[in-house]
């Protein structure tokens, strides 16, 4: 039998576990009062990481101690409890590894756009936005092709939609969002057309016209002359800008694609499964033996 020293006893005590859980709970509660954008800094802070690390140590040592005692016959074997604690250990470990090693790519793509993602290219072939009869969003779906670094197709006709990401090696490709870009179409005397979206610029008569936005039937431009003097002007649709006619507004839909590389993603799933199994084994037995409420 292993003789426990004082430090080991403290590190494996349920009391320590409870203190750490309370501390983590309080810190987590405080975090919810912070703006969403600052959460990453909070959960990367030394205090939080230290508490989580201590909790992991406590959980791990408790689990090892418990399993040892079961194997030598000091305590009753409870497979369910062991699985719960092991699953939790694995979850914390795999999540930590993922958090350190993961890579993320967030992009807005138009039909035909090609995006570089570390080891491959992503091409958006077609983006579709579906609505219900009342106009509310029903689904948004992207049809993509994955190309290698030489431009050859690796996988084509991949369909991704919300809640249905595509797995490509260590990467998962998500349909995260979409955005509408409102622009304006201009036409010259010969009928040639150009569409401007926000922040697009055209050079007319030695001045830079930067399209800002369109609101109803009016388009706002920022005009910069040769001496860098800036003015803002609003043009109605149908009017002209130095010989170019503002024909109409035009909307394009951009697909929000999110790519994530997670080397130990599968381990996270396995740990959740182990947790589920552990709970099932532990509590089904308890329910059977328990008096009714």
């Amino acid at each position: 039998m292993i003789k426990e020293n004082k430090l080991f006893k403290i590190l494996t005590s349920v009391k320590l576990a409870i203190i750490l859980l309370i501390s983590l709970g309080l810190l987590a509660a405080i975090s919810t009062l912070m703006p969403l954008g600052q959460l990453e800094n909070f959960f990367s802070s030394a205090l939080f990481i230290t508490l989580m690390f201590l909790f992991f140590i406590n959980l791990s040592l408790c689990t090892i101690k418990r399993i040892y005692r079961e194997l030598v016959g000091i305590i009753e074997i409870k497979v369910g409890v062991d699985l719960i604690h092991t699953g939790l250990m694995l979850l914390i470990l795999s999540s930590t590894i993922n958090a350190i090693t993961q890579e993320e790519y967030d992009t807005l793509m138009n039909n035909g756009d090609v995006e570089y993602i570390e080891n491959f290219y992503l091409k958006l072939d077609e983006f579709n936005y579906y609505t219900y009869s009342d106009g509310k969003a029903a689904d948004w779906v992207s049809h993509i092709t994955i190309l290698d670094l030489n431009g050859a197709e690796i996988v084509k006709e991949v369909v991704i939609e919300v809640n249905k990401p595509y797995r490509f090696g260590d990467y998962r490709i998500f349909q995260k969002s979409f955005t509408k870009l409102d622009g304006v179409k201009l036409s010259d005397k010969d009928g040639k057309e150009i569409t401007l979206y926000p922040n697009y610029e055209i050079f007319i008569s030695n001045m830079i016209y930067q399209f800002l936005n369109v609101d109803g039937l009016s388009a706002m431009f920022k005009i910069t002359d040769e001496e860098n003097n800036i003015q803002y002007s609003e043009y109605k649709l149908g009017s002209e800008i130095e010989g170019l006619k503002l024909v109409d507004r035009e909307t394009k839909l951009l697909s929000g694609i999110y790519v994530k590389k997670e080397p130990v993603y599968v381990v996270q799933y396995i740990s959740l499964l182990i947790l589920l199994l552990g709970f099932s084994i532990t509590y089904i037995d308890k329910f059977r033996n328990m008096e009714v409420l």
Partner: protein, 255 residues
């Protein structure tokens, strides 16, 4: 059907409150709560048929399901045990209040199909298990209040608190933590992102974990246990409502 269910609860509540005031153990009518429970389920099935998706993706539908779960637990408990009284009354009252809330203008009741992020089987499993687990926490909450208010029967209420948490905890863990994480992974690419909803669900889980890990300790007196169980449910309630309406969260669209 919601109106009928709500109205059906009134005579039961009146009956139980009379029994409590008279301190009498009269005929056990709790199994009758299965009637409004079934009616609420039927209402959800009808809504699901209309939107062509299981109706559990907004606050209104969640409240109906939650109320139904509480009534089912009380009804089934009523079939198996004659002891009713305060716990049944209190839990049924919570269900009644939630049903009244569904008529509030703060909780839209229009029949709308879910937005893309909510069109997920994992979401349905997540919500279903979470609310069933929380329904058991309601029983522990009422039992805890009863324990604090009564001078006798503390052992009975202590057992009820522990047992209801023992049943609710794994179901809630499966729903709120495990299946919720899996859904988040598919919807947003991350099992856990410390979103306020996720965080408060974890805090709820932590409180009940602490109860179950210390239930055998002599230091956890009946009074302490009762207070922690009360706090646990209030935190769970805040997770459901408070986060949606008071904090900035990815889950805020489920209103």
């Amino acid at each position: 059907m919601i109106f009928i269910s709500t109205v059906l609860l009134i005579p039961y509540l009146v009956y139980e409150i009379i029994n409590i005031i008279r301190d009498k153990n009269s005929k056990n009518l709790a199994p009758l709560l299965l009637v409004p429970a079934c009616l609420l389920l039927i209402e959800l099935i009808i809504r699901s048929w209309e939107i062509k998706f299981p109706a559990r993706t907004n606050t209104y539908e969640a409240l109906l399901f939650f109320s139904s779960s509480i009534l089912f637990i009380l009804g089934i408990r009523g079939l198996k045990t004659a002891n009713q009284g305060v716990v049944s009354f209190g839990s049924a009252m919570i269900s009644f209040i939630f049903l009244l809330l569904t008529s509030s203008p703060l909780i839209p009741s229009e029949v709308n199909p879910p937005i893309p992020a909510l069109q997920s089987n994992w979401l349905l499993i997540h919500v279903t298990f979470s609310f069933i687990g929380e329904a058991f926490f309601v029983v522990s909450f009422i039992s805890a209040i009863a324990l604090l208010l009564t001078k006798t029967k503390s052992e009975y209420y202590r057992k009820l608190i522990i047992n209801s948490i023992t049943i609710g905890y794994p179901i809630y863990t499966a729903g709120a933590i495990i299946f919720g994480s899996i859904w988040a992974s598919y919807a947003w690419g991350s099992f856990w992102s410390w979103d306020p909803k996720e965080t408060w669900a974890l805090i709820t889980w932590i409180i009940y974990t602490i109860i179950l890990h210390s239930k055998g300790s002599k230091k956890l007196t009946d009074i302490k246990l009762a207070w922690i169980a009360i706090i646990g449910y209030l935190v769970s309630f805040f997770t459901f409502f408070g986060v949606n309406y008071l904090l900035n969260s990815l889950h805020s669209y489920t209103g």
